[in-house]
């Protein structure tokens, strides 16, 4: 009795999985997959990818679809939640690549998962657009060459030294002007995990390249009371305190810092001016914010503004990382354009086309291109919040440095 | 032949003196009884001798070897086995499994191994080999405790209040079992409060008070000793 019960249940499970799509690539469409953390710890980043991609897919399909070699193909979007769990992410990757036979995958933003995912997309010749720190180490000229394991993988965000470089320069310029004194001492707060370690390496060097003396304070990722660390920071007499990664935690630490009057000016990574205004935050000290790539709360160009209007109108959440969606939006359009120009959906030809292209998207005033390591370059927007206000911003778009600063491995 | 020889054994816990220089000798043919008021150190004596506690001073010699400070399991394997005041068993295991554990881990050399089932029959638990130990009533647990100690192939058995909680007829059965042990090659040293039991089976009685030996000798002599009577009944007016 029990045996039969159990058998039936497991068989039902197996059959229900069978009921999912398991056929070869259909003629009627180009399949695009998204794997992201739509629930779980990384949800603030994860939600944005799907929203950006689906907006682009809708626009392309509304315009008739992708025109390849005289035929028109609609884009099929398959969206999977990885629940911030590596096993689910891998399973979703397998499902999309091996069961659903997608042509391209967008995601994830969670570091380990992306790397494990490339082991699935690479052998299946599925293009993967993903952006996170761990990729920087493994994207080399050899690994992205034809036949290499990462030939079909593209990093959606610039090398960290570039983002750090433009952010550091922009922040120091804006704060220096507002505070009215030369800035010498900086303290950087970063979470002691993979992303934090990676980011801080480059940002510290970028600040030093801009003439700062830097002290680095690492906190356990689950910290909620920053007072002991902030007190230590204060004893170092900083002109500026920089909170790097992540946006949600930063907004917990920052008020504590202002209360303790730790520094003359602050930088908050991962907090968009839009979030600042939404939550009606106010600070007596000058605060700078940066966005990757552009701030949805203070869009620097009419194209960006129009994008964010459409993005939020489609129902997307106004989160700290909503600006990340813009990247994925551009990359979907770029992929479609590459297929049209190459005249085929064949992955090798499309990759070769992308490598040759310069794409004018919304993200950047100048056309985007992928370098020899499949990494992209674009500027970072930095904004200063006028002290005492919730919605008065002064923003500038900072171009990245061409060369990494001394001691930086250009990762 | 003296098997267990305790000389000047002291045990202190912080400032409290639990054993105050005890001397004791037990042979493999003996049945020796230890009595005394509560708190006189009887169980502590067993604990130190069998390695559950370390001695503070003095010596414990078993078959000529100094065992003071050795681990409990090592001492048990040398043939010096004790039972506990509480009815101890391995509750979730069957009676037979309980016995097999003692059989496997008990003394290695010397005595011929006895099949556990025979021991269970000896204590009157035959037919109950497959029962779960934890579900048995108190009286049977006591029998099991004794069977386990025997299954560990002891040469000397230290029984800690084996009659506690038993009624008269059960106590009589227990006495019958204990009387037979020296004839089977197992000496016995037991603690108890049941004076009838003690006088009927012990050849020699030792009286402890406040961790010290205050009398030793034949049961009828010891129990009529004035000091002993004072300790139990209070000083004469």
């Amino acid at each position: 009795m029990i045996a039969a019960w159990k058998e039936r249940a497991v068989l039902a499970l197996a059959l229900s999985a069978l009921a999912g799509p398991a056929f070869a690539q259909s003629e009627g469409g180009v399949k695009i997959g998204v794997v992201a953390a739509q629930t779980g710890a990384f949800v603030s980043a994860g939600n944005t990818i799907g929203a950006g991609v689906s907006l682009a897919v809708k626009e392309i399909n509304d315009g008739g679809g992708v025109k390849i070699d005289g035929k028109t193909f609609k884009l099929d979007l398959l969206n999977r939640d990885d629940r911030t769990d590596v096993n689910v992410a891998i399973a979703a990757g397998r499902e999309l690549v091996n069961d659903d036979n997608i042509n391209a995958l967008y995601g994830t933003e969670s570091h380990d998962f992306s790397v494990s995912m490339t082991k699935i997309t690479g052998p299946a010749k599925v293009l993967q657009f993903t952006g996170n720190s761990s990729l920087g180490a493994i994207l080399t000229e050899q690994s992205v060459a034809p036949g290499g394991p990462l030939h079909y993988t593209f990093q959606t965000e610039p090398p960290e030294f570039q983002r750090s470089g433009s952010t550091a320069r922009g922040v120091l310029k804006l704060l220096g002007k507002e505070i009215g004194q030369p800035l010498k001492n900086a303290v950087v707060f970063v979470a002691d995990d993979a992303t934090g370690q990676y980011l801080s390496e480059h940002y510290v060097k970028a600040l030093e390249a801009n003439g700062q003396h830097v002290d680095l304070i690492k906190y356990p990722p689950s910290t909620t009371d920053f007072t002991p660390l902030l007190t230590r920071a204060k004893s170092l007499n900083p002109d500026t305190v920089h909170f790097w990664y992540n946006g949600d935690v930063t907004l917990i630490a920052f008020p504590q810092a202002v209360q303790l009057n730790v520094a003359k000016g602050y930088f908050l990574f991962g907090v968009d001016p839009g979030v600042w205004a939404e939550r009606k935050l106010v600070s007596t000290a000058p605060v700078t914010l940066s966005c990757v790539p552009m701030c949805w709360g203070a869009p620097p160009s009419p194209e960006a503004k129009s994008y964010f209007d459409r993005y939020f109108a489609a129902g997307a959440v106004k989160g700290v990382q909503s600006s990340v969606s813009l990247l994925y939006y551009d990359y979907v359009h770029w992929y479609a354009k590459a297929m049209e120009e190459a005249g085929t959906t064949d992955p090798d030809k499309v990759v070769a086309q992308i490598e040759k292209m310069k794409y004018q998207g919304v993200v950047s005033k100048v056309p985007l291109y992928f370098d020899k390591r499949h990494r992209v370059t674009f500027a970072t927007e930095v904004c200063l919040v006028k002290p005492g206000t919730s919605d008065k911003f002064e923003c500038a778009v900072e171009e990245p440095p061409a060369e990494p600063p001394p001691g930086d491995n250009a990762g | 032949m003296i098997a267990l020889e305790v000389k000047g054994l002291r045990k202190t816990f912080g400032g409290v003196v639990a054993l105050d220089g005890i001397d004791l000798a037990v042979g493999l043919d003996d049945i020796v009884g230890i009595v005394g008021p509560n708190g006189s150190g009887k169980t502590t004596l067993f604990n130190v001798v069998t390695g559950a506690l370390k001695p503070s001073a003095g010596s414990v010699r078993w078959l000529g070897e100094e065992i003071g400070g050795m681990a409990a399991y090592q001492i048990a394997r040398k043939g010096l086995v004790r039972t506990f005041q509480q009815a101890m068993s391995f509750p979730a295991l069957t009676v037979r499994e309980n016995a097999l554990i003692a059989h496997e881990h008990g003394a290695r050399s010397g005595t011929r191994a006895v099949v556990p089932d025979a021991l269970l029959r000896f204590v009157g638990l035959d037919g109950r080999e497959d029962e779960i130990a934890g579900s048995m009533p108190f009286g049977n647990l006591r029998r099991l405790g004794l069977a386990l100690a025997l299954a560990a192939r002891p040469r000397l058995l230290l029984l800690d209040e084996p009659a506690a909680g038993l009624n008269d007829s059960e106590t009589e059965q227990l006495a019958g079992i204990i009387r037979r042990l020296p004839g089977l090659g197992v000496g016995v040293c037991l603690i108890d409060h049941d004076m009838n039991l003690m006088t009927s089976i012990c050849q020699r009685l030792i009286v402890l008070d406040f961790g010290a030996k205050i009398a030793e000798g034949r049961p009828e002599d010891v129990l009529n000793d004035r000091k002993v009577m004072e300790v139990y009944l209070g000083a004469p007016t």
Binding site: R83, D193 | Y73
Partner: protein, 344 residues
């Protein structure tokens, strides 16, 4: 002592036992064999049922956990010692595999004994000072082990890959079998699962298992009867560590990328949860526990927060109502149904 000399003693019968027996329900040999046989057939035959890549991938994840859980079942189910450090021991196996592949060009098969032995050695080192303290303290120490392990990995520089972690190439083709195909990798994992369950059963039914159970049931009595409790506890911990090390090795070759977060305190708590949910003393307990935790959120499409609430509630229910875990509960259910059928 020589009982051959005894005449039979005329002792009145001992009192009859009260109430029902505690412990595993009594099933016939056939009944005991049929469910495991069915499960094992399903396990091996899964790829031929065309389950789809998603299910197969989740099945491999389940298998990895099951291997480690069999070790934990020996430690907790048999010896009664709870550890929430088993993710760290899996990590030892995983990182050993990755580092040996990178620095010494060792294949999966060559790394297998190394991963098991290294994890067992780490367990021994941790167990030596800590197993002599009581069970509650030991649990906390194993919890701290995970934290320590994560810190060591994160600060290990290029050797451990620091916070970014390490990559590994797939197993490739061995004896004509291409393990880059998910179906073959699954069968490899399934083979390890079956071997783990088999080994676990071997321990459970052997006299060694009985010795461990005696430690679980009454440590003081065990020592008083000659059981070297201290040694056996450490050895049991080391054995469970070896299982975890193997699980970690299979995992690293499955994910092909590992990092410190995978082996922290949180995953360890999940592993302990799995073994308690499934049933730490049952043959299929480890598999059931891993299955529930992997597939419950999958089938019900649960948000991770809801899933954790479900596990917490499930754990409380198991502790209060089903101490033997879900497998024991199913067995009891079957027994009551059988009694109903027999009666009617």
């Amino acid at each position: 002592m020589d009982l051959a000399k005894t005449e039979s003693l005329d002792l009145p019968q001992a009192e009859p036992a009260k109430g029902g027996s505690v412990g595993a329900p009594r099933l016939t040999w056939m009944e005991r064999a049929i469910v495991p046989a069915g499960v094992f057939l399903l396990l091996i035959g899964l790829p031929w049922l065309h389950p789809g890549y998603r299910l197969l991938s989740l099945a491999v994840s389940t298998g990895v956990n099951t291997i480690a859980l069999c070790g934990l079942a020996i430690l907790f189910g048999q010896a009664g010692i709870m550890s929430v450090g088993h993710a760290a021991l899996m990590g030892v196996g995983a990182y050993a595999g990755a580092i040996l592949a990178r620095d010494l060009d060792m294949s999966f098969w060559a790394a297998l004994p190394c991963a098991a032995l290294l994890a067992a050695a780490v367990a021994g080192l941790v167990g030596l000072p800590s197993l002599r303290v009581g069970g509650h303290h030991f649990v906390i120490i194993t919890f701290a082990l995970c934290g320590l392990f994560t810190i060591v990995l994160t600060n290990g520089g290029a050797f451990t890959g620091a916070a970014t972690g390490l990559d590994i190439a797939p197993i490739g083709t061995v004896f004509g079998v291409n393990f880059s195909k998910l179906q073959n990798l699954y069968l490899l994992a399934a083979a390890f699962v079956l071997a783990s369950i088999g080994l676990m059963r071997l321990v459970m039914t052997s006299s060694y298992g009985r010795t461990l159970r005696s430690i679980r049931e009454n440590e003081t009595l065990a020592a008083a009867l000659g059981v070297n409790v201290g040694l056996h506890k450490i050895v049991a911990f080391m054995i469970s560590g070896a299982f975890a090390g193997v699980a970690g090795l299979v995992q690293v070759y499955f994910l092909q990328h590992i990092s410190p977060d995978l082996y922290g305190a949180f995953p360890s708590v999940y592993i302990a949860l799995m073994v308690m949910l499934g049933g730490p003393r049952m043959l299929l307990g480890p598999l059931m526990g891993a299955f529930i935790v992997t597939f419950l959120p999958e089938v019900l499409n649960l948000d991770p927060i809801d899933a954790r609430i479900a596990y917490g509630v499930g754990l409380i229910l198991v502790i209060l109502l089903l101490p033997g875990g879900v497998m024991a509960g199913l067995a009891h259910l079957y027994l009551s149904c059988r009694r109903c059928v027999v009666r009617s």
